[in-house]
């Protein structure tokens, strides 16, 4: 599959050169790439799920390494891995149980079926399978303490050796890949549609004559505000300009184009204005498992000011922005320094710089970070495509999307 390899390399290059920016665009590109990886991957007869997982992981590692700051890549890769595991599990259970659509949605039902109709099946397999999918841990699955064997469900032959199963095998192989691609398509759809999902909730959060402060340029925020506007709410938006990238200008332009009352303020006026603001709405770059937010630079300042004035600080995040990692020193480790030329014109300063000649270290340093970290205690609410959530609940939401085996790639 040379063509896949080349597209992967191309994408890696783009990530490395930061040609693709914005978590949504990156997520979509990633998931499309992974889909082609999966579809062109030739699966062996045995262990096909793990083979797929290995292939996706290999690609995923390259992508993550290309731009470790763009957490959406890792999120999507984990998500795809999770999909493969889940599809495989449902196929396994279906095959073992002979049930076509025992879509592993409910443990109790699972257990019921097993207990009544198919006593021959190994309870251990089902239990292990159930655990591996990160189902809500029920007391039963916990108590059925079979020795841990993560591989059990995937090597489907090892679990049971009934005649019917081997007969079905060939159909399963084809079915797995097909199902996975179906699900990945769903994921693509989900990522593309997360704006609408989030925007639908706008009307519940924005009231008449509200004053909203936002910063950075986020399509999610734009759609969110416009959705409220379309529902005939009239409100006013303050946009902090977000120097030195001035994405606030971009957002303001689009808001004005859609007919919203927009006021552009300098970043330094955030504290001055926050006392007259009813709500701060920002789009996240990534949401960490502890409920912390990585957003455009300057967000932490706004969050602190909002906290001081008891203004709700609302973060909009599509599901692809949920990152299952717990941050350590995120201001530094999950940040990226951009070019100092955005802040200073070095031509103007050339006369007072000696450019390190002679002296050991240069006199002037310029810091231009891209992101800012907001600790969870400053966030009032997350609005994701599945609804509103507390920062303290994010870990649970994340557990729904990713399987525990993939957290460390």
């Amino acid at each position: 599959m040379p063509d896949v390899q080349s597209t992967v390399l191309e994408f890696v290059n783009k990530l490395r050169k930061r040609k693709i920016e914005g978590s949504q665009a990156t997520a979509r590109c990633t998931v499309e790439l992974l889909r082609s990886v999966i579809s062109q991957h030739r699966v062996p007869h045995a262990n096909q799920a793990s083979a797929l997982i290995d292939a996706v992981k290999a690609v995923g590692e390259q992508l993550v390494a290309a731009n470790p700051v763009e957490l959406a890549v890792g999120n999507v890769v984990r998500r795809v891995l999770h999909i493969i595991r889940e599809e495989d599990l449902s196929l396994t259970t279906a095959a073992m149980g002979g049930l076509d659509l025992l879509d592993a949605s409910d443990d109790d039902e699972d257990v019921c079926n097993k207990g009544i109709g198919y006593p021959a099946m190994s309870a251990a397999v089902v239990a292990a399978a159930a655990r591996s999918t990160l189902r809500p841990p029920s007391l039963q699955t916990l108590l059925e303490g079979t020795p841990e064997s993560a591989t059990v469900p995937y090597t489907s032959s090892s679990g049971a050796d009934s005649e019917s199963k081997t007969a079905d095998k060939s159909s399963i192989t084809r079915k797995l890949k097909h199902d996975v691609i179906e699900s990945v398509n769903q994921l693509i759809h989900e990522i593309a549609g997360c704006h609408e999902q989030i925007a639908e909730q706008a009307i519940e959060h924005i009231h008449q004559n509200e004053v909203i402060l936002t910063l950075g340029s986020s399509r999610t925020v734009l759609e969110f505000l416009c959705a409220a506007k379309e529902k005939k709410r009239s409100f006013r938006v303050f946009v902090a300009e977000g120097a030195p990238r001035y994405q606030g200008h971009l957002l303001a332009k689009e808001l004005v184009a859609r007919g919203l009352q927009t006021t552009v303020i300098t970043d330094s006026a955030v504290f001055a204005m926050i006392s007259r603001v009813n709500m701060v709405i920002i789009g996240a770059h990534a949401v960490m498992a502890n409920g912390g937010v990585i957003g455009p630079v300057g967000v932490n300042m706004a969050a602190l000011a909002a906290k001081k004035h008891a203004v709700p600080f609302v973060v909009l995040a599509g599901c692809h922005k949920l990152c299952p990692l717990y941050p350590h020193n995120p201001e530094v480790l999950l940040n990226e320094l951009r070019s100092p030329s955005e802040l200073l014109d070095f031509g103007e300063f050339s006369d007072c710089l000696d450019f390190g000649a002679g002296s050991g270290s240069p006199l002037l340093q310029v810091v231009n970070p891209t992101f800012d970290y907001v600790p969870p205690n400053l966030v009032s609410l997350f609005i994701t495509d599945t609804g509103g959530h507390n920062p303290s609940y994010m870990y649970r939401l994340i557990a729904d999307y990713y399987s525990a085996d993939d957290l460390v790639m």
């Binding site: 303050f238 120097a243 007259r276 932490n300 002037l364 970070p369």
Partner: protein, 637 residues
């Protein structure tokens, strides 16, 4: 002068001490100089430096012989024409010969009013740099000047002689000959040309939002409560002032400021205004109560008015234009420029027949002040300085002859500049430097003059520290500070205010400047200061505010909305030096889009660890104490 001051020295010998203090100063009769009110580590810079407790408010008197050298030094500092509005060479000698006395002195020859020019040793390298370098430079240079006062006292006497001469030539002013008038016009034209050049050079960043606040509120445009500060009445200068003291007391509370959403008042104010301005089309709803004008509309208009403004003194006019164009910015620089202009006014003043000096001059000053307000709203520090000046005028004994009164006033102004601004800055530097240790990482925001002096002084003391300069759009004043610090070889890091949480980890102390400190401890300062203080507070970094005590005000304020100043909105949509940022180019007239360029914000006192002022280092809760004591002193000086 002597005769006026001596009795007072006897009247009020007590030393007020605030807070805890280490050494008490028993010999209060020795008249401790305010400039010497420093804490222990400070080696005094004034000739009569007796070191006092860390926080103390000394009585505000001196024998004039004591302070005269200093005054003289500053007078020489202020001496003419390193950069002048209309440079002398510009106008032909022929015209001046017609009326040497009138033209050359009266209007321009000695008109080096702007602070930028008046201070020796300021690098005149570029206008942009000069704009804000002026004040710090003044502070620093005066240290050295003060140290050798002997040689300079001559100049001061020379100055006196001059003003005496002028008194003689004063009567000429009344009946100017045709030739004189022509000469004057000539000079004014030259001045105008110079102004134009200046205006072109300086980016019109400062707000020209004109007219404002307190002054317009009461009819003949008297800033706030100036005129009625109780004790002034005791001077018996004018019958109006001599009114019942209860009334004065009541009026001590700050006068309600002009509210621009009050239509009838706005209309009235407009009728009075010298400067006609177009109102901005896209006004921000929240700030209807503040003046919002189109920028850049006033300057040409004012320039054409130059000839019609007969009552306006050229020095005042020039300072007004400089405010408008943004050539002078920064609290101290603006205040010094204004006071020096008023000094010129006093120098050229002659009492009209059948009027008393006190009343007429107060009215004159008031009209000048209202003009300055139209150019740019007064800062609180300027309000305080004006209040001081009016007080001095009101309290002039009627027995004084005109020339004596004028000399007294001029020296009063001189003294205010020296003691309240320049010496105060030196004292602040001495205090603040003790807080800088080796290895410190200091953060500062914008380009506060006092902090700059602190940093430079600490560097001179060979302390090893690093400075983080945080800046913000649209003024980017931090770049000017950065440039000056780097030139001195200080290790700097530069960033924008958005990145403040990123860099706050490494900071050990935050030094901020202030436009004013209000009596509830709120620090009213360059917009963004509150953000910096808040983040510093969140990261448990101490915040030190350097502010001269003359900027303290008894007003209180809770937010940054009720009273503020609006800058040029177009400065926000245009990003200087970044052509790629042009998203908002065609949208400036869109009804849905507004730009808000706030100039100041109010930092709550809980973010402030310490305020370093010329009376020592105090917590924000002590501000009302200083305001109270200071105001008393103010009236007694």
């Amino acid at each position: 002068m002597e005769s006026r001051r001596n009795p007072r020295a006897v009247v009020d010998p007590k030393v007020r001490q605030v807070g805890f203090f280490t050494s008490s100063q028993p010999d209060s009769t020795q008249q401790p100089d305010p400039i010497a009110s420093e804490s222990h580590p400070v080696s005094s810079i004034s000739p009569s430096g007796n070191s006092l407790s860390p926080v103390m408010i000394p009585p505000p008197r001196h024998t004039s012989s004591d302070t005269f050298p200093i005054r003289a030094a500053a007078a020489s500092a202020v001496s003419p024409s390193s950069f002048s509005y209309s440079s002398r060479r510009d106008f032909p000698d022929g015209s001046t010969t017609a009326s040497p006395g009138r033209v050359s002195r009266g209007s321009f020859a000695k008109s080096s009013v702007p602070a930028a020019s008046s201070l020796p040793g300021v690098g005149m390298d570029s206008m942009a740099a000069a704009k804000s370098s002026s004040v710090p430079a003044s502070g620093l240079t005066t240290v050295s000047v003060v140290n050798m006062p002997a040689g300079l006292s001559e100049k001061a006497t020379g100055m006196e002689v001059q003003s005496d001469q002028k008194k003689n030539s004063k009567p000429l002013k009344e009946k100017t000959t045709k030739a004189e008038r022509r000469a004057l016009q000539e000079a004014q034209r030259a001045a105008k040309a110079a102004a134009k050049v200046e205006g072109g050079k300086a980016p019109p960043v400062t707000s020209g939002s004109v007219a404002s606040t307190n002054v317009k509120a009461n009819k003949p445009a008297k800033p706030a409560s100036q005129k009625n500060d109780g004790v002034a009445a005791a001077g018996g200068a004018s019958e109006k002032k001599g009114g019942p003291s209860e009334k004065d007391r009541k009026k001590d509370a700050p006068h309600p400021r002009m509210q621009y959403d009050d239509e009838s008042r706005v209309v009235k104010a407009k009728r009075r205004a010298v400067v006609k301005q177009t109102e901005a089309k896209n006004r921000v709803e929240l700030f209807r109560h503040l003046p919002q004008y189109e920028h850049g509309t006033q300057l040409p208009d004012l320039e054409t008015k130059f000839f019609q403004l007969d009552p306006m003194h050229p020095a005042v006019y020039k300072v007004g234009l400089q405010y408008l164009s943004g050539d002078i910015s920064g609290g101290n620089a603006r205040c010094i420029a204004m006071l020096q202009a008023f000094q010129e006014v006093v120098k050229d003043y002659s009492t009209p027949p059948e009027k008393t000096l006190n009343r007429d001059m107060t009215a004159k000053i008031s009209s000048y002040v209202s003009f300055l307000i139209e150019c740019r709203p007064l800062s609180i520090s300027m309000g305080n300085a004006i209040r001081f000046l009016k007080n001095r005028i009101a309290k002039l004994p009627i027995t004084l002859s005109e020339s004596e009164a004028k000399t007294a006033l001029q020296s009063d102004i001189e003294r205010f500049i020296n003691e309240k601004i320049i010496t105060a800055d030196n004292v602040i530097v001495k205090h603040a430097v003790t807080k800088i240790r080796d290895g410190d990482v200091l953060l500062t925001y914008g380009s506060p003059s006092a902090v700059e002096m602190v940093l430079l002084h600490a560097h001179e003391l060979k302390k090893k520290f690093r400075v983080l300069v945080v800046d913000s759009r649209p003024k980017l004043e931090g770049q000017l500070l950065l440039r000056r610090l780097i030139k001195r070889g200080i290790n700097c890091t530069y960033t924008h205010i958005n990145a403040i949480s990123y860099i706050m980890h490494e900071v050990t102390k935050v030094f901020l400047g202030a436009s004013s400190v209000l009596s509830n401890g709120t620090v009213y300062s360059r917009v963004g200061t509150a953000c910096v203080a808040m983040v510093a507070n969140a990261f448990r970094v101490p915040v030190l505010v350097c502010c001269e005590a003359y900027k303290f005000h008894e007003r209180v304020q809770l937010d940054s909305i009720c009273s503020n100043e609006l800058g040029d909105p177009n400065a926000i949509s245009k990003v200087h030096g970044r052509e790629d940022i042009n998203y908002l180019d065609g949208l400036t007239n869109n009804a849905n889009l507004q730009f808000l360029n706030l100039m100041y914000d109010a930092t709550p006192s809980d973010y402030i660890s310490m305020i370093i002022t010329d009376y020592g280092m105090v917590p924000p809760t002590s501000v009302p104490v200083i305001v109270r004591e200071y105001q008393k002193e103010h009236l007694l000086v």
